[in-house]
């Protein structure tokens, strides 16, 4: 491996957080194009099923993770319980914060139709969302954290799928409207 690629590897290995390309260039003292070449070399070297370590681009920077193929062994060694799955309530709240951020608790509750304090608190404890200011009425606003991007393998928030792709189709909408009206009419009888 060329010297810059080796330095990048050492930096990514040492840093607890993903490192941006700009910070890598600054620490190494090299120009961006040379860094890009080095990153390409790393990408091949630390590809899945190559060395046990894989290069990932998440949360606005580069970082290493262990290869998923070694997941079982890693868990046995670290006696690590599997990260608890997201509950449905947490996943819904996380989607709302992810797409509407910054967004307040009352707004989350309004969209879900249920009080959402408990899943919001849990997401905050899990480090997936954090406070970001307050509304004019003093309610805390939330946004997602860099850890969210890291755990969801997102390079940035722009890597989230377009929210439009989740919108019910015009057909679905029409069907829902028809059924809703029909439900209302049926109940008249």
């Amino acid at each position: 491996m060329n010297p810059i690629a080796r330095q990048v590897t050492a930096l990514l290995f040492s840093s607890p957080e993903p490192v941006s390309r700009a910070d890598l260039c600054e620490a190494i003292g090299c120009a961006e194009p040379r860094l890009d070449d080095a990153v390409e070399e790393l990408r091949a070297r630390f590809a899945p099923q190559e060395t046990g370590i894989v290069l990932r681009e998440v949360a606005g920077g580069l970082t290493f993770s262990s290869d998923p193929e070694a997941d079982d062994a890693v868990r046995r060694l670290l006696a690590k319980p599997r990260t608890p799955p997201l509950s449905q309530a947490q996943a819904e709240c996380l989607s709302i914060v992810g797409y509407l951020q910054p967004v307040s608790r009352p707004e989350i509750a309004r969209i879900r139709g249920v009080n959402s304090d408990s899943p919001v608190t849990t997401l905050e404890e899990r480090g997936l969302i954090e406070e970001r200011g307050r509304t004019q009425f003093g309610a805390i606003l939330y946004r997602t954290t860099p850890l969210f991007q890291k755990l969801f393998g997102l390079e940035s928030l722009k890597s989230l799928p377009d929210i439009k792709s989740f919108e019910p189709s015009a057909e679905d909408e029409q069907q829902l409207r028809d059924k809703l009206l029909k439900a209302g009419e049926q109940r008249v009888s």
Binding site: F13, P16, V54, R56, T63, F64, S65, S66, P68, D71, V74, R82, T83, P85, L86, Q88, A89, A91, E92, L94, S95, I96, G98, Y99, I111, R112, G113, V114, N115, G133, R134, Q136, F137, G138, A139, K150, L151, F152, G153, P161, I163, F166, E167, P168, D172, E173, Q175, L176, R177, K179, L180, L181, K182, A183, G184, E185, Q186, R187, V188, S189
Partner: protein, 246 residues
């Protein structure tokens, strides 16, 4: 219209909140809404919350409001629209409003499925858990230069001094009926008479919310064995009695 012989069963475990339930209920092709007993769903839903150890009156109330919205929609459709007085929304508007909320919810529900899938796919990647040594977590005093604006502190302070406006809840008196109060009323009646009717329990000029909450109170007491009830004919009076000693 087909008759559904087999009562339709609803796996309530899979629902998150009333919108989720409603969307499913309304869109389920196999379900003829005429055959779905809303009261049973209410009861099953509340029981589920209770079984989970989270009978949160707030969540239960939200659910009742949603069911009430559906019933209200029905009742408004019964009325010629020009007869409506003092009602905030026209029936079509009421339907549109409910529809808009259901659609919005459905969108985030779909997004949450993506979140689940992504989270699971990413779980096998482990990142190194080697935190920075403590001495690198703060800047050395001698090397420190101004990095923050004092105005940030004043902004934060002013944010903390703001308070929410007092919310006008006068239009919400319907949902301030307390379950505890209705339970007490029913228990008093049970203590003083052998039997009484649902109309006795709600009072002569009760509103719909009082009726709904009283029904909920009766369901609770039925479940705990404090009362039994019967209705001899459809739409006839509901009689409530102290259970016979066994």
């Amino acid at each position: 219209m087909t008759t559904v012989e087999q009562p339709w069963t609803l796996d309530l475990e899979v629902f998150e909140g009333p919108f989720d339930l409603l969307v499913t209920l309304i869109l389920n092709e196999d379900v003829d809404l005429l055959e779905v007993h809303l009261a049973e769903i209410v009861l099953a839903y509340i029981e589920r919350l209770e079984a989970r150890g989270e009978l949160d009156l707030e969540a239960a109330t939200e659910f009742l409001i949603l069911i009430a919205a559906l019933l209200e929609l029905k009742s408004r459709l019964m009325l010629p629209s020009d007869d409506e007085e003092g009602l905030g929304l026209e029936p079509a508007e009421a339907a549109d409003e409910l529809l808009a909320r259901l659609l919005e919810y459905k969108k985030f529900r779909a997004a949450s499925e993506w979140m689940h899938a992504r989270f699971d796919a990413e779980r096998p990647y482990s990142y190194r858990a080697a935190p920075l040594p403590p001495e690198l977590r703060r800047v050395a005093f001698d090397a420190a230069e101004q990095a923050y604006e004092p105005a940030r502190l004043a902004d934060a302070m002013l944010g903390l001094l703001r308070t929410p406006p007092v919310v006008d809840t006068s239009h919400m008196t319907r949902i301030t009926v307390s379950l505890e109060r209705r339970l007490a009323v029913v228990r008093d009646l049970l203590a003083s008479r052998d039997s009484f009717t649902f109309d006795d329990a709600v009072g002569a000029d009760s509103d719909r919310m009082t009726q709904a909450v009283t029904l909920f109170a009766l369901l609770e007491l039925y479940k705990t064995g404090e009362l039994v009830w019967r209705q001899r004919e459809t739409f006839g009076p509901i009689e409530i009695m102290v259970p016979a000693e066994s």
